[in-house]
Symmetry: C2
Subunit: 276 residues, 2 copies
C-alpha cells in the first residue's frame, strides 16, 4: 500500500472498499471508483484541472438551498437524470411515459378542488387543463393524487420569485370517481433553466443554450399503481428538439388549443402502470 | 432528440457538447459524460440511489467552507487526489517524491526565521527539523521558500480549533545560502481525517478507518525548480500501510529520533526537479 502509481492505485482503493457490508453499496462504489479513475487517466487530468473541478463542485454545493437544486440541474444538463428515468421507467406500451422530475417540485403544495384555478395569481394566459387518469386496461383511476406544477408567463416558477410568499401555478388535485380531472391555470411557456450559477457557466463554456420547451409537470399517485412523474410538452415549441435537459418524449407533446374567448384548452389523458 | 432511450441518450448529450470552443474542455466533458453514463448503466442506478447521490453531493458542498474542504477530502479517500499527483508528479529518479496536498493548507501562513519555533503554542513534544534543499545535481537551492504545516499533539490542525485566532504549527521559512533549513516544532502524530461529515459517513458505511499516519507537510518553491508538494511520514507509524488517502511513499518515511533531553530530531533532505 506504499508507492502506489497511477495504475496500481485503483486496485488499492478498491481493496480498501472490499469490506463494505452492503453489497449494493459495494457494487456502486466499485463501479464509481473504476470510472472516476479511468476518466482521470483517460484525459490525463492535470492538478490545475483537478482544482477547477473541486472548485466547481463546491460552488454547485454552495448555491444549492431548499429552493434551488443545482446538483439536480447539473445531473439534468449532463443527461444523467433522463438516463436514470429511462432505465427505471421503462413502462409497458400504452402507459404514459415518464420524464425528468426537475429541480422545481415543492413538497406541500396547496390542495385544490377540481375546477379551481391553481395559477393563484401567476401571470399568464388563462387555460383549462382536463383529461382522465386510467389504468392499462382502460379502467378509470378514481381519487388519484395529481401534483401539478409549472412556470408562469415569465418562465419562472413561484420559488424563483424571491418576494413571493405563497404557492403559484402549483397544486394538488384528485380525480373524480370516473378518473376525470380538470383545473384552470396559465399557458406554459418555454423558459431558461437557472443559468446564473456554475451550471450556467458550464453551459456558456460549452456553447449550449439553457432553454426548455414549454411544459406542465405532473406527479400522479394512486394505490395499486406505479407513481408517474412526467411533463406534458407544448406542441410547436421551438425547443422541443433541443431541450437543455433531454426530457422530451414524442408521446408527451400535446396542443394547447386556443378557444373563441382567447383562453386555451389542453386535453391530455394519462395511463398508469399497475404495480406488480 | 426526442424519445432518447438509456443507450441513445449518451450520444445525444455528447452531440450537444460538440460545439465546445476549448478543445481541452471538450475532451474532458466528453470523457466525463461517457464515464458517468457508463457508470449509471453498469450499476443500473435506481432513482432512489440517484436521489441519495444528489443529497450526498449537496451535503459535501454545504459543509465546505474556507477552512473545511470536504470535496478535497472526498477526492482524497477515493484515491483521485493521489492518482492526479502520481500522473503529474512523475519526477526523475533522485528527486523527492510528491504526495497529496490535503485539505489543511492555508495561504498566508506566518513567516519565520531559520531556528524559530513554528509550533507557536501548539501542543506536542518539541522537536527540531533540519536538512537541505538541493537540485538533482547536488547544487544547494538557496532562499527556497518552504511552506510547512502539520497537526498538533491532538491530531488537529490549527484551523480545526474553532476558538483559535492565530496560526499554529504552520509557517513559511527560507533556506540559507547553502540550501539549509532548520526550525523547531512539535512531533507529528497520526490523526483521523475529519469524519463528522458526509465523507465520514461514507467511510463508516464502507468499513473504512479515517486514519492518516503521522506526517509533516512541505510545499517548496524556488525559481528555476518545479514546485514540490509532499509530506515526510514518521517511521513506525501503525497507519503507514493503510493511509486513508493513499499518500504514503516509502522514500518519504523518516525517523524522528529521540534526543537525550526527550526532544526529537528529524533530518530530511529534499531534492527538487529543475524546470524545463
Amino acid at each position: 500500500m506504499r508507492n502506489l502509481d497511477q495504475n496500481t492505485i485503483t486496485d488499492a482503493v478498491l481493496a480498501r472498499f472490499a469490506d463494505t457490508p452492503d453489497p449494493r453499496l459495494k457494487t456502486i462504489i466499485t463501479s464509481l471508483v473504476r470510472h472516476l479513475h479511468d476518466f482521470a487517466r483517460e484525459v490525463e487530468l492535470t492538478e490545475a484541472e483537478w482544482e477547477k473541478g473541486i472548485d466547481f463542485l463546491t460552488r454547485v454545493g454552495h448555491i444549492t438551498d431548499d429552493k434551488r437544486h443545482e446538483f439536480i440541474l447539473l445531473s439534468d444538463v449532463l443527461g444523467l437524470s433522463m438516463l436514470t428515468v429511462a432505465m427505471n421507467q421503462d413502462k409497458p406500451r400504452g402507459c404514459t411515459e415518464a420524464t425528468v422530475f426537475g429541480p422545481f417540485h415543492v413538497e406541500g403544495a396547496p390542495h385544490y378542488e377540481l375546477g379551481d384555478d391553481i395559477a393563484n395569481g401567476a401571470a399568464g394566459t388563462p387555460c383549462v387543463v382536463r383529461g382522465t387518469v386510467r389504468g392499462l386496461d382502460g379502467e378509470p383511476v378514481a381519487n388519484a393524487r395529481m401534483d401539478v406544477w409549472q412556470s408562469d408567463h415569465d418562465g419562472l416558477y413561484d420559488v424563483q420569485h424571491p418576494d413571493l410568499d405563497h404557492a403559484q401555478a402549483r397544486g394538488i388535485l384528485h380525480t373524480d370517481d370516473q378518473g376525470r380531472f380538470h383545473f384552470r391555470s396559465v399557458v406554459a411557456v418555454p423558459y431558461q433553466i437557472p443559468h446564473d450559477g456554475p451550471v450556467g457557466q458550464l453551459l456558456d463554456a460549452t456553447n449550449r443554450h439553457p432553454w426548455r420547451p414549454a411544459h406542465l409537470h405532473f406527479k400522479i399517485d394512486a394505490p395499486g399503481y406505479e407513481s408517474l412523474i412526467t411533463h406534458v410538452f407544448r406542441n410547436g415549441d421551438p425547443w422541443l428538439d433541443s431541450d437543455a435537459v433531454f426530457g422530451v418524449r414524442e408521446s408527451l407533446v400535446a396542443d394547447w388549443v386556443e378557444q373563441d374567448d382567447g383562453t386555451y384548452l389542453l386535453e391530455f389523458d394519462f395511463v398508469l402502470n399497475r404495480k406488480d
